[in-house]
């Protein structure tokens, strides 16, 4: 990955002056990687298409899509690679679509993850947000379908949401472009550390906490530099066969390395899925 110099003009980071350029699939060089996660049918692909100018097939079903789409956009002179992950309700089970999503969040180390949520069904969507927050703290929550919510008489207090989640929440309406610039500048701010995040994590019982604390350093010993040993510890405690297998075969470290290159990531994920 190439590094970049921060924008010279401070106004460039202000949403009012922001500039978005859609780059389609031209991503030979990019500065930042942003992942797009969310429940199915929250308008995730609509947002992906709005940002990249691509025409990804929208309206997918859980389980049908097992691959990720990639596109690019340039915002205030910074080139972002946007990775559209399969829409999932959770990251807890072992279906192929959820694996693609969570492997990328775990090992792909995106610079930021946008979790797209449906403002009209926020509670259900927050389940996934909380699970993503277990994995990474570089998260921006996009509260989508605000227009639909208003029509239904639903009000979402994004500020209260940000406070409770510990990561920024931005109300948007991907269909008519509302809030997009604000979302992109928030993403940039989170990536550059201008917004500090303090993600809400579900604690569980003391015994559970103690078990996690014991297991986490052991995993870090096995795969030095692993981005989220704590999350893996939780999965191990829950008896996740996929994580058990990754540990047994010693491929955790490999995955960390390989997740970076797009083709190899997919083939390695598929190989793991195929081996099961």
């Amino acid at each position: 990955m190439t590094t970049r110099t921060p924008p010279a003009d401070p106004c460039a980071t202000c949403p009012a002056y922001a500039h978005l350029e859609r780059m389609g699939i031209k991503m030979d060089t990019f500065d930042r990687v942003v992942a797009l996660a969310g429940n199915p049918n929250t308008g995730k692909s609509t947002l992906f298409n709005t940002l990249t100018g691509l025409k990804q097939h929208t309206g997918n079903w859980p389980g049908k899509t097992v691959t990720r789409a990639e596109g690019g956009y340039q915002f205030n002179g910074v080139r972002y690679k946007l990775v559209d992950l399969p829409g999932t309700y959770s990251l807890l089970s072992t279906s192929q679509d959820e694996e693609v999503a969570r492997d990328f969040l775990l090992f792909g180390q995106p610079d930021c993850t946008i979790v797209v949520t449906d403002a009209t069904a926020l509670e259900r969507n927050l389940n996934l947000v909380l699970q993503v927050l277990e994995i990474t703290d570089k998260v921006v929550v996009a509260v989508n379908l605000m227009d639909e919510a208003r029509r239904k008489g639903i009000e979402v207090d994004a500020r209260a949401l940000s406070r409770d989640l510990g990561v920024p929440a931005v109300p948007i309406s991907a269909r008519n472009g509302e809030g997009i610039m604000s979302l992109l500048s928030t993403v940039a701010d989170v990536i550059e550390g201008r917004i500090a995040t303090n993600p809400c994590r579900v604690e569980g019982t003391p015994a559970f906490q103690k078990a996690i604390r014991e297991l986490t350093p052991l995993i870090e010993q096995l795969a030095p530099g692993i981005p989220n040993a704590r999350w893996l510890a939780i999965r191990l405690l829950e008896g996740d066969a996929r994580v058990q297998q990754a540990i047994r075969s010693g491929e955790l470290a490999d995955i960390v390395r390989r997740q970076r290159s797009p083709e190899e990531q997919l083939s390695s994920t598929m190989a793991i899925v195929g081996r099961q």
Partner: protein, 464 residues
């Protein structure tokens, strides 16, 4: 430095040290947190529809009322099917068999050789007429009712209600979705198991799918329930008793689904049930035209057409078996005779077993095959009259008892999957072993259960 096996062993030990429900607790606290945050961030103007959805859900997914509503809906659907199908079936039968008699007479008057007339009208056509008149009415009622519940968004609620039972059985909660698809067609149910993530739980769902009666088997159950169980009652009472008997058989099938899932997850497919998230979609106003289209064209006509494709050659085979001489009788009677002793052990008879062998390609043709062999044997080729006529034929001429009817219903419920389903199981698992297992599990259960009921009946009749 810890080795991978050390870490896994330590994780295993820690997992066992935690209380058994800790995974649920983690998921639950996650959900509680999501609810708490959402409550603070979301303000909803009094939206009546939203409230109504929640109120309905509270009723429909509550432990007691949820199960009662489920049972009630099942009974209503089956009662509608049973009572509607009987009238419709008799009407169809009159028309179709009438046409057959007329065409047969025409062939005879033209001087067509007897074996051509027989092959076409007493074999192929008769079997087709049976399949259409027995199958079409229940399907034309059941499928729209089922699709209505599906479109309303009720099926995920059933999955929600039954989740704890499936988890207790070591199976996946989404198995209730595939089980419900099985009511339509077991092959479709097997394909639907793709929604289940873990290979172990998916295999359990595949192997046990056949324990719910598909539309090909409902007609058998409905006919037997009407003619035997509800015999002696009339009108609405009879239809309620017949429907009650069918509901009972369905519940036995569901019980076997749980039992076999439990057995499998404790023996060959050992493991724990995995957690999953299932969305309860908003209730939607069903689109009547779309329901009629999906259920009548995509489902009813599709399934009926498939049944007819197997019924035509089956009719030919039955006619040939009944007309190829063997000693001083026909091949059909001879084979049924050989099988008879074996069948009697299970409270069945040779003709029934032969019908099941001929009907391996499609369960739909069990009743037609059986009836054609019975009527053929007693030279009553003109087809069925009323329920009383069929009852008289079976009881007086072929020695059927209530035990025969009950055991046939049980056998029909539990026996091996049809050819299409076996093939689908092979395609989905890519394994001859599991396809063979699915046959052995079901057939073994069917023989075991009917053997027990037949033995009990014999014991009781000895004592009395």
């Amino acid at each position: 430095m810890a080795t991978p096996e050390d870490v896994l062993a330590r994780a295993e030990a820690l997992r066992n040290s935690l209380p058994s429900g800790f995974r649920d607790e983690v998921v639950q606290s996650l959900y509680a947190e999501a609810e708490r945050i959402a409550r603070r961030a979301v303000k909803t103007a009094a939206d009546r529809k939203y409230d109504l959805d929640q109120r309905i859900d509270r009723l429909v997914t509550a432990p007691v009322s949820g199960l009662l509503i489920m049972l009630l809906l099942l009974t209503v659907v089956i009662w509608t099917t049973v009572s509607g199908a009987n009238v419709f079936s008799e009407m169809l039968a009159t028309v179709l068999f009438g046409f057959g008699d007329w065409a047969r007479a025409l062939f005879v008057s033209w001087g067509v050789p007897w074996w051509i007339t027989g092959f076409i009208w007493d074999g192929v056509y008769l079997c087709l007429a049976w399949v259409v008149s027995v199958m079409f009415p229940p399907m034309a009622i059941f499928f729209p009712a089922f699709t209505l519940l599906e479109d309303l968004g009720y099926l995920p609620r059933v999955a929600f209600n039954l989740d704890w039972l499936f988890r207790k059985a070591g199976a996946h909660g989404k198995q209730s979705l595939t089980m419900m698809m099985g009511f339509g067609c077991n092959a479709a149910g097997v394909v639907a198991t793709r929604v289940i993530d873990s290979p172990r739980e998916r295999l359990i769902a595949i192997l046990t799918n056949n324990f719910v009666p598909c539309n090909g088997r409902f007609p058998t159950l409905i006919m037997l329930a009407t003619i035997f169980v509800a015999a002696g009652f009339s009108g609405v009472t009879a239809s309620f008793i017949a429907a009650g008997a069918v509901v009972g058989v369905v519940l036995i099938g569901v019980a076997f689904t749980f039992f076999m899932s439990w057995l499998l997850s404790r023996t060959v497919l050992r493991g724990e049930a995995s957690a999953f998230t299932l969305e309860l979609p908003p209730y939607r106003r069903p689109n009547v035209l779309r329901i009629l289209y999906t259920s009548l064209i995509d489902r009813t006509i599709f399934v009926l057409w498939r049944a007819m494709l197997t019924a035509a050659p089956a009719g030919a085979v039955i006619w040939l078996l009944a007309n190829i001489p063997f000693g001083n009788t026909s091949l059909a009677i001879a084979i049924a005779g050989w099988l008879d002793g074996f069948g009697r052990i299970f409270g069945l008879d040779g003709v029934i077993l032969l019908a099941y062998i001929i009907a391996i390609p499609a369960n739909e043709i069990v009743v037609p095959t059986m009836m054609m062999m019975y009527t053929g044997a007693s030279m009553m080729v003109e087809g069925p009259g009323s329920s009383e006529a069929i009852r008289a034929l079976l009881v007086e001429q072929h020695g059927w008892s209530l035990l025969t009817a009950v055991n046939l219903m049980l056998f029909s419920l539990l026996h091996n999957p049809c050819g299409t389903t076996i093939l689908t199981i092979y395609k989905e698992t890519r394994s001859y072993k599991w396809a063979a297992m699915s046959v052995m599990i079901t057939l073994g259960t069917a023989f075991l259960v009917t053997f027990i009921t037949a033995s009990l009946a014999r014991l009781i009749s000895h004592l009395i």
